[in-house]
Amino acid sequence: MSQSFPGDALDDTPSRPLIAPLAPMLTLREEYVNGSQGFVKQIDYLISEGWIGVRRTRGDGDCFYRSLAFAYIENILNASDTMLAATGALSVLEASQPQLEQVGFQRLVFEDFYDCLAGLINQVISPGPDGQVLNINTLLEAFNNPEVSNSIVVYLRLLTSAEIKTNPEIAAFLIHPETGEQMDPESFCNNFVEAVGKEADHVQMNALATALKVNVNVAYLDGHDPQGKVSFVPFQNAPFTFLEPVNLLYRPGHYDILDRRDADPIPPLFVQ
């Protein structure tokens, strides 16, 4: 019998979709029932607090950026005033382009990625190439198309990098994740932000939440809380946003999306 580790349920088969449909939190619980009881307790705590759903993402090192992007666009889609939410998001993105150029990224390097992200958000309010406005199904489809999905991840990485390089409050606290040495923004971003597949840590998350002007809450599941409670770490840097916060679920080395629903809604068949 092989030893079991807390992270065993984080299987990383290529068959896992980049972003999965919403599933009941109980499906995640089942994966831990015969393993770490610390995780089971914490999952029960989340369920008791109303977090009954989870949207799983592939564990490829891009999961934080991909989870955040998906939840961010889904929040725009579900906003009470989608026009206000989408135009607000688009104007934040529009303003991010000069920030990227300011830190030395050529337009050529980022414009295709920008167009991809801005195009998808724009599709919330105006029909895309298929003549349809975005719904949860087409959003899932887009995020499971590697070209679209990875382009969006890359734009968010570049935006994170630009924010780190231009925000002195962040730039002062860059630490090498292994050696603990202080790093300059340029080499930190080269090594731990811009490179595809490099996981995000606290600094990157804070920078991206600030740049996108979105509030993010991260529930940390580590299996270690004696009471089985879960602490939520808030990244609340956007006091004037029209959007609901993005809620993510962290397990060691991986991010998924946390939700108060346990299944995706069925999109309307006809849109007037």
Binding site: V109, D112, F113, P146, N150, V154, L158, E194, A195, V196
Partner: protein, 137 residues
């Protein structure tokens, strides 16, 4: 249109409009799968007077995925003798592997390799590390 084609079209237009940095020349870019560029190391270096050729191969996901880059080894070109270059032309550089970023471009890869060569002050006595057999060209 593949993301790679869109990006490479722009890189090509840029090269045609602005040219390439000194010491770097586009040899051929007949499609969006394989490009060749030559690299010379400027100034007083161990590679003075030598010209090398780099072969770039792109998959449909470039620039999200790294290009495959190696020195051409054929009747015209040899790989430079350098601690990070195998005699069959393969290059050991972090930016072509785990540190690849879509921020990089064909020209910036050439510039990085050019400066990697320029920083080699002493020519290794023997071509190293040796690889047996023919390269795959």
């Amino acid at each position: 249109m593949a993301v790679s084609t869109r990006r490479l079209q722009k890189e090509l237009a840029d090269i045609k409009r602005d040219g390439t940095p000194v010491g770097i020349t586009l040899l051929s870019a007949e499609d969006f799968a394989t490009w060749y560029l030559s690299v010379e190391v400027l100034g007083n270096t161990v590679y003075e007077g030598e010209k090398f050729a780099l072969k770039f191969r792109f998959d449909g996901q470039y620039p999200i995925s790294a290009p495959a880059v190696q020195f051409v080894v054929d009747d015209t070109y040899q790989a430079p003798v350098h601690p990070h270059v195998y005699s069959n032309g393969h290059i050991c550089a972090s930016i072509l592997g785990s540190e690849w970023s879509p921020v990089l471009s064909v020209v910036s890869v050439c510039v990085t390799i050019q400066s990697m060569l320029a920083s080699c002050k002493v020519r290794p006595a023997i071509p190293y590390p040796r690889v047996r057999g023919r390269s795959e060209h």
